[in-house]
Structures are given as structure tokens and as C-alpha cells.
């Protein structure tokens, strides 16, 4: 049966620094509108890459192309050394996990059930034995252990976001694609989520996060890719990329970048 076919070969951990997921010359059109143009981007094992840019600049579309949700209009998307489409859905699921902007659920599964769903790709593999241990760990890590027996639809927006993250973390893939994971969260939980993503990158995984908050991107990302009108305007370490000129132009707003007085991390504020 092809629904969840016999266990495929387990993917090896990528060597640190290798390009784990890549977009090469990728474009995307939505009807008449060109959403993305000739994007070249690689995310390496062990780094946290933030995608930033104004509303409608194509951040989430780029993430969905990397996830395989949409077919690129041109160019190639690769994952773990092969074209994305050469992997089956199951093989992709063993390599990358995706956190959508909004997690919806048709039926009232409990929080523990939802997080356990993250372990589905590993069913029938030796890693299945770790399922309960990993689910427990990720529930604790995302501070959702107290919610486990609650039905998911009864949770608040912030709780849903953390449970959704726990599910994605429990999938234990070498690539994490997170679409605005901090949007619904207060400062404490947002920092927790970014620290968790940071930890996974430090542990050797490749992490791509779509972020609106440039300060968060500057503080947590190894590299940032600034998208503007479907193209990458700049890509590199935040301290190099985040300049008054670039951000003011990309966001069409007068923006200034100041070093934090103690840490030196760039802080981005509107000039008022």
C-alpha cells in the first residue's frame, strides 16, 4: 500500500556545512503575477537561515517551494542531494518538517495525539521505539506538557502555535521549515521558540524560518535572506546585510539600524 509504504532507508545525518536544501534559479508565477524570480538559495546543515522581507515579497512562497507544496515555475529545488520530486512523500517526511502559519485540525484530537502525529514518518523503522520518549521531550521543551490531555481545538492561539511546533520538532528531521512561528506568541514564548530553533541548528540541522521581526532575525539567524518583490535583495550574516540603506529601500520606510549597546546585535527601528 502506497499510503504509508514499507519503511524506506533511514536518511543519514548531513555533514555540517553541506547544502541540505537548495533552490536554483527558481521562479514562481501565480496567475499573471510573478511572485518569485530567479531565486538562488542554499540552506546548510547547522545553520539557521531567516527569510525576511515586506508583506507579499514572496517569503512564504519560497518556503512552500522548498517544502514541495508548490511546483516551481522554473529552476530546481533540491533536498539532501537529489531533486525534491525524486523523493517520495515518505522520504521527504523523514528529511524535512514544515510548520505552517496556521495549524488547523478537523477532529478533536488531543495535544498528545497531535504531537505524536509528528512521529508518523518513522512508523515501522527502528526509530519508532523512541516515539514516546521524543513526544514527551518535545512537549516539555515547548512548555506544552501541561496541555497534553486537552483537545487541540480548545487551545488558545499561542498554545496551538507551541503544540504545532512540538509536532514539527518531534519529527526529528534534518531540515526544519518554519513559517512565522513567532507570529502568535508573546515575547517569552517567541524567544523560547527561536532558542529551540537555534538549538536544532547548533545540533547540526538546517533551519529556515520566515520572520517578520527583523530584531529576532538579527539576534538568532546565522544568515538572513532579504526578499524584495520576488528577488533576494541581499543574503548574508545579519550584521552585514542589515543596513539603513538596504532596509529603508526594501521596506519603503525610513529605517535605522543600531547596534545593541551591550551585545552589538543589530536592532532595527523605524526612524521616528
Amino acid at each position: 500500500m502506497r499510503l504509508l509504504p514499507a519503511a524506506p532507508a533511514l536518511p543519514p545525518r548531513p555533514a555540517p556545512g553541506t547544502a541540505y536544501a537548495e533552490a536554483r534559479e527558481v521562479g514562481f508565477r501565480y496567475g499573471e503575477a510573478t511572485v518569485l524570480r530567479r531565486i538562488d538559495l542554499a540552506v546548510r546543515a547547522g545553520e539557521l537561515l531567516a527569510l525576511v522581507g515586506p508583506n507579499g515579497s514572496g517569503k512564504s512562497t519560497l518556503l512552500s517551494l522548498l517544502a514541495g507544496d508548490r511546483q516551481a515555475g522554473g529552476g530546481k529545488v533540491r533536498l539532501d542531494g537529489r531533486p525534491l520530486s525524486a523523493w517520495s512523500a515518505r522520504e521527504q517526511a523523514l528529511r524535512r518538517a514544515v510548520l505552517p502559519q496556521q495549524l488547523t485540525l478537523t477532529f478533536p484530537f488531543t495535544v498528545a495525539d497531535v504531537v505524536r502525529m509528528g512521529r508518523a514518518p518513522w512508523a515501522g523503522t527502528p526509530a519508532e521505539d523512541l516515539d514516546e520518549q521524543i513526544v514527551t521531550e518535545e512537549l516539555a521543551r515547548t512548555a506544552t506538557a501541561s496541555l497534553t490531555a486537552r483537545p487541540f481545538p480548545a487551545l488558545s492561539g499561542g498554545e496551538r502555535a507551541r503544540v504545532g511546533l512540538a509536532r514539527v520538532l518531534a519529527q526529528r528531521t534534518s531540515l526544519l521549515l518554519l513559517d512565522e512561528p513567532t507570529a502568535a506568541l508573546d515575547i517569552h514564548h517567541a524567544e523560547t521558540v527561536l532558542s529551540l530553533a537555534r538549538e536544532r541548528a547548533a545540533g547540526g540541522d538546517a533551519v529556515v524560518i520566515v520572520l517578520h521581526d527583523l530584531g529576532q532575525a538579527a539576534a538568532y539567524a546565522d544568515r538572513v535572506a532579504v526578499l524584495s518583490q520576488g528577488e533576494i535583495a541581499a543574503c548574508g550574516p545579519p550584521a552585514e546585510v542589515f543596513t539603513d540603506e538596504l532596509l529603508s529601500e526594501v521596506y519603503q520606510h525610513d529605517v535605522e539600524v543600531l547596534p545593541h549597546p551591550r551585545t552589538g546585535v543589530p536592532m532595527v527601528v523605524a526612524r521616528r
Binding site: 517544502a67 512523500a89 514544515v98 495549524l103 477532529f107 484530537f109 488531543t110 498528545a112 495525539d113 505524536r116
Partner: protein
């Protein structure tokens, strides 16, 4: 509460409750089936029925019923009970599958137009006097109508290699309206005898049960029941939405195709032999979810048992409550089912603000 406790509160507790519910349903089903087989014009007790069944299998289990009762039992009541079991379980499983793949607890074989497609097929064959297949003509036409309806709706709602749930449900509504209109026309232009035939068929009944009807619906019901447990886990994941299910390794398009074909076979076969019987596929899965949670691994087999129980019990009531007259079974299930569905809507609205 710790995560270890949650394990008990979530899936495992669901499984325990599921096992209890399935066992309870099975026991109730055997009891109702025995009662349905025994009650009627020539009644037989459970011991006599067991003896008669054993006798056919070459076992001696005690005194047989008298020959006339034996004949009524085997020619009339047993095929009727079996047909009820098969049709009921087919409708129950079809409803549970549809709600899973269409992401809405309101989906039912009638919703995407299978029942009305089958009804149109039957009405057409009655109207044009299609008798090439003898006594089977109407059933085969109904079956064909149901399949065409599913394929049409499914074909319309697929765009860019994906199925849009909203389009699917809306095209089901459009198809229901269209078939309703055509059946209305056929009814209007029918002569008296055709009119009776079309109307009785639309009301839904197990009254025409024969062993060949049982044989016709059995392969579909059994195939559905055998396949369904394997669909449990992927359908659970599909509850996260198609994208997230795919991110977790489910081949979503294949899953949907398989489910739609299964639903088409199960409900067309059921409608073809028993006419239009509504609400079984809607209410039974709802009740099962309330009792043992949303896990499809439990939901699918429990819906099969529950559907069988509802139909066998309903048919027993339909033919005994006003004996010797028979209340049409489809009317009975709709009569009981629609207020129940109303209550369900209000309850859900109060609890979680509706289905949005």
C-alpha cells in the same frame, strides 16, 4: 498532568474505550440480529435459529424449527437480516471515510450526490422500462448512476492535480439539485405503476431482500471493511490538512482517490439493493466519535458495526411496529435521524462555535 499521563488520556484511552464500544456493539448486533431473524409471522427462538444455522453447517445443536418456519427463516428473514447488516455497515463506513477525506463531520454519501445519482439511475430505468437484466435491472442502473455521480463530482472538483473540498461539496449540492429535478420530471410523466415503483424505491427498504441481493452487496461491504483499518492512520494525519499530511509522508492524492472509489462502491451498492436510506452514514460516525474519540482506526470498524446495528434494528421496528404493514425504512431513519442531526448541530455550535 505529565506527558506519561497524557498517553493514558489520549490515544490509549481512546483505544480502550474503542475496544469496549466495539465489543458492546458486536454483542448488541448479535442480539438484534437474532431478534430480527426470530420475530415475524412465523416466530423462532434464538435456540431454534442457532440449531437451524448449525444444521446447515452440519452441526447438531438441538431441535429444528418446524418446516414452514424454517422456510420463512431461510427465504425471507435471514437474507433480510444479512442485507441489513451489509447495507448498514457499508453506509456507516462510507460516511466515516467521507468525513475523513472531506475534512468535515457533515459529509455523507448523500451530500456528494451518490444517493441521488443512484436514485436517478433507478428512476430512469423504471421510466424507460429497462428490463434487459431482469430483476436486477433497477439495481444495476442505480449502481451505475451512483458511480457516474461520484466520478462527475470528483472530476469537476479536481483542479491542478488537487481536490478542493469546498468545490466538491458545492458540486455535490448542484448534482443533488439536478437529479432531484430530473426525477421530478420523470415522476410527473410516469404512469401510475411507474410512479409507485419509483416512489417505493426512493423510500428505501430491505423488503426486497434475497440471497442474490446479499451476494451483490457483500463483496463491496467486505472489501471496504477489510481495507478500512489500513486507512486509519493516514486518515488521522489527514485531519491536519492535506499539506501537513503530505509533510508527514502521506500520499494524499492516492489516499483520496482510494477513499472516493471505496465510498462510491460502498454507497452505490448499498443504495442499489436497498434504495435511499439516509442519515446512517452521518449519525453513526458522530456517535462513535463522541464515545471513543476521533481515531479512525477505531472509528471505521465501529461505524461498520454501528451502521449494521442501526439498520437491522431499524428494519425490525419498521416491519413490526405497524405489522402486517411496513413503514419504509428510509422514512424511519430520516424521521429519527433528522431531529438527531439538528440536536447535533446545536450541541456542536454551543460547544465549539460551530464548524466555521
Amino acid at each position: 498532568m505529565s506527558a506519561e499521563l497524557a498517553e493514558v488520556a489520549g490515544q490509549a484511552a481512546g483505544r480502550v474505550r474503542g475496544t469496549i464500544v466495539i465489543a458492546g456493539l458486536a454483542v448488541a448486533l448479535v442480539a438484534v440480529a437474532l431478534a430480527a431473524a426470530g420475530l415475524g409471522a412465523y416466530p423462532a427462538g434464538p435456540a431454534e435459529i442457532a440449531a437451524s444455522l448449525g444444521h446447515r453447517l452440519g452441526l447438531d445443536l438441538g431441535a429444528l424449527p418446524d418446516p414452514l418456519t424454517e422456510t420463512v427463516l431461510w427465504d425471507v428473514r435471514l437474507p433480510r437480516v444479512l442485507l441489513g447488516l451489509l447495507v448498514g455497515s457499508s453506509l456507516g463506513v462510507a460516511g466515516a471515510l467521507m468525513q475523513g477525506i472531506f475534512h468535515t463531520p457533515l459529509a455523507e454519501p448523500g451530500v456528494i450526490g451518490i444517493s441521488s445519482g443512484a436514485a436517478l439511475g433507478a428512476a430512469l430505468s423504471i421510466f424507460v422500462g429497462f428490463t434487459a437484466l431482469g430483476a436486477w435491472s433497477v439495481s444495476v442502473a442505480a449502481f451505475a448512476g451512483g458511480l457516474v455521480a461520484v466520478l462527475a463530482v470528483y472530476g469537476v472538483s479536481r483542479a491542478g492535480g488537487r481536490t478542493q473540498v469546498i468545490t466538491l461539496l458545492l458540486s455535490g449540492i448542484a448534482l443533488n439539485a439536478f437529479t432531484g429535478a430530473v426525477i421530478g420530471l420523470l415522476t410527473y410523466f410516469s404512469d401510475n405503476e411507474q410512479l409507485r415503483s419509483i416512489t417505493f424505491w426512493q423510500l428505501g427498504s430491505l423488503g426486497s431482500a434475497t440471497w442474490s441481493a446479499v451476494a451483490a452487496v457483500a463483496p463491496f461491504a467486505i472489501a471496504g471493511l477489510l481495507l478500512a483499518p489500513r486507512l486509519g492512520r493516514p486518515l488521522d494525519l489527514l485531519s491536519l490538512g492535506e499539506r501537513s499530511a503530505r509533510h508527514l509522508g502521506v500520499d494524499v492524492q492516492w489516499l483520496r482517490l482510494l477513499c472516493v472509489v471505496l465510498v462510491a462502491l460502498l454507497s452505490s451498492a448499498a443504495v442499489a439493493v436497498a434504495g435511499i436510506i439516509t442519515f446512517v452514514g452521518l449519525i453513526i460516525p458522530h456517535l462513535i466519535r463522541m464515545a471513543c474519540g476521533p481515531y479512525h482506526g477505531t472509528l471505521l470498524p465501529a461505524s461498520a458495526l454501528g451502521g449494521a446495528l442501526m439498520l437491522t434494528g431499524g428494519d425490525l421496528i419498521a416491519r413490526t411496529v405497524a405489522a402486517p404493514a411496513e413503514v419504509p425504512l428510509g422514512v424511519l431513519t430520516a424521521l429519527v435521524g433528522s431531529p438527531f442531526f439538528f440536536w447535533l448541530l446545536l450541541r456542536t455550535r454551543a460547544r465549539q462555535g460551530g464548524w466555521a
